[in-house]
Symmetry: C2
Subunit: 293 residues, 2 copies
């Protein structure tokens, strides 16, 4: 398989549908604009792609998991809008474009994030009629946990508390497992779950998701040091400037590289029970550490 | 029936359980503190009481709707935390206590609001095993819509856009139907829905909910002018000072009084198909315009 083609096709699939799902109907026009601005600001759409690849790995249909794919991209976008706020990371640029609050003002940016989170659950509930209600409920439960205080939002707090402090490797891992790991894991597991995966399959995909989530973060930390500004879409070395704890800073860049390769091996090993329908997941794991953006 | 006793008992019921539901397990300690601070800051708990009264009106069991009651109080609390932020209403006090961001800082307050919204969906999904999955999904869908861009969050945007402008009565009504009306309506309708209400019952409760939601807001506007600071827990006339559009300002205080009584009559008429198990709902409608806080 050609991963580049796979990623481009699956990214296009979700981008075609995301604006249909985010209907302006019944919303204040400016709020809709603000939500759509950040939702259409590009990005790798890695969570939707993982939803699709998780569904395909168990022989499922992509159409069935489209609402979950859109939902997770909305939740990811909500977190970016709030992370960029002046009270948080105070970023002016995101993927080379002005951040949401720079364009729409702080109040609207806060509310656009809030609305994306609520809308995500609305879509997941409303647009999944092909799935058994008990399965959808189970996935909503996973998504809510991975988004909230025990997941991504909690991870942002751990991250804030860590800034400027000397963290151990275990503490840094705790930040990332919450901040990005759980939602990435829910992407691949949720996609498979909605397509009737077995418990053994879900367990394997959960190990895969956790491993690539962490590998992804380590790769990001390395890119922050070694990438070019054009490649990574923000200032090179901005993590260092912000005194953020990173893997290269804590364990050294060589050890960080070894750790990310280890995690990729772990992710691929976990997929041993799957046939070649899981090849996209295997290729995605390898891509994570080889990517340049 | 004695409404005062009813309100006190049902408020106590949800307050006993709300901290059990908001388990600190797996959350950053400070985030949990911030969430719990606002959740335990008092208030009338009108949404949980409406959930209970809606369930009782159709002969349902309060235990079955406890997760929904807690969920809606969490969503209400999330909206208060975000509304109070410097970028929004910039309030230092809420119910006589320092607002969340004054105690925990702006970043944590934003994240505590986010986490309460996610947690609300988690609890609704996780803690409703006694209900049919399809019913729970239906209620989650209603709650998400009433919380997001088509409901409360959209209403906050309409409200912001209205500040300092001369609104028509219809425009003001649009603000309130979104900002408070939809979530109040979902409270009473959702409680009944989880207990197996018929379509006719749900339709009646929906009319009831919309009418008392608006009456509640008009009563608030009147209280802002006529209440004492001790009664209403904020500065008297603060809406006037903030150049907020209010019913008394637009249609005059006498017309506002007539309108709120009309809405209460409409709410009570909608309950005609119910027996005396809907008496708490009838009394709550009357109480809304007679209350002093």
């Amino acid at each position: 398989m050609n991963l580049r083609t796979y990623l481009a096709q699956h990214k296009a699939l979700v981008e075609q549908r995301i604006n249909e799902y985010l209907s302006a109907d019944g919303m204040p026009a400016n709020l809709h604009k603000s939500m759509a601005y950040s939702l259409n600001a590009g990005g790798k759409r890695i969570r939707p792609v993982l939803v699709f690849a998780g569904a395909e790995a168990v022989g499922g249909d992509i159409k069935r998991v489209m609402p979950l794919a859109v939902t997770l991209e909305m939740i990811h976008t909500f977190s970016l809008i709030h992370d960029d706020l002046p009270a948080m990371d105070d970023d002016d640029l995101r993927r080379g474009k002005p951040t949401n609050h720079k364009v729409f003002g702080e109040a609207t940016a806060i509310l656009a994030g809030d609305a994306l989170l609520a809308e995500a659950f609305w879509i997941l509930t409303k647009a999944s009629p092909a799935c058994a209600p008990a399965l959808v409920l189970d996935v909503i439960c996973d998504v809510a946990e991975a988004s909230g205080a025990r997941g991504m939002t909690g991870g942002q707090v751990f991250d804030m508390e860590a800034t400027g402090k000397a963290l151990t490797e275990a503490e840094l891992e705790n930040v990332h497992r919450h901040k990005t790991g759980k939602l990435l894991s829910v992407s691949v597991v949720g996609g498979a779950k909605l397509c009737g995966a077995t418990d053994a399959q879900l367990k394997a995909l959960s190990i895969y998701g956790a491993a690539i989530g962490l590998a992804f973060q380590i790769a990001d930390d390395i890119l922050d040091i070694e990438g070019t500004e054009e490649e990574i879409g923000k200032d090179v070395g901005s993590d260092v400037d912000a005194h953020k704890a990173t893997y290269p800073a804590i364990i050294g860049i060589e050890a960080a590289r070894i750790k990310e390769r280890c995690l990729v091996d772990e992710a691929i090993s976990a997929l041993a029970i799957f046939d070649d329908k899981a090849d996209p997941l295997r290729e995605i794991a390898k891509y994570i550490v080889d990517r340049k953006t």
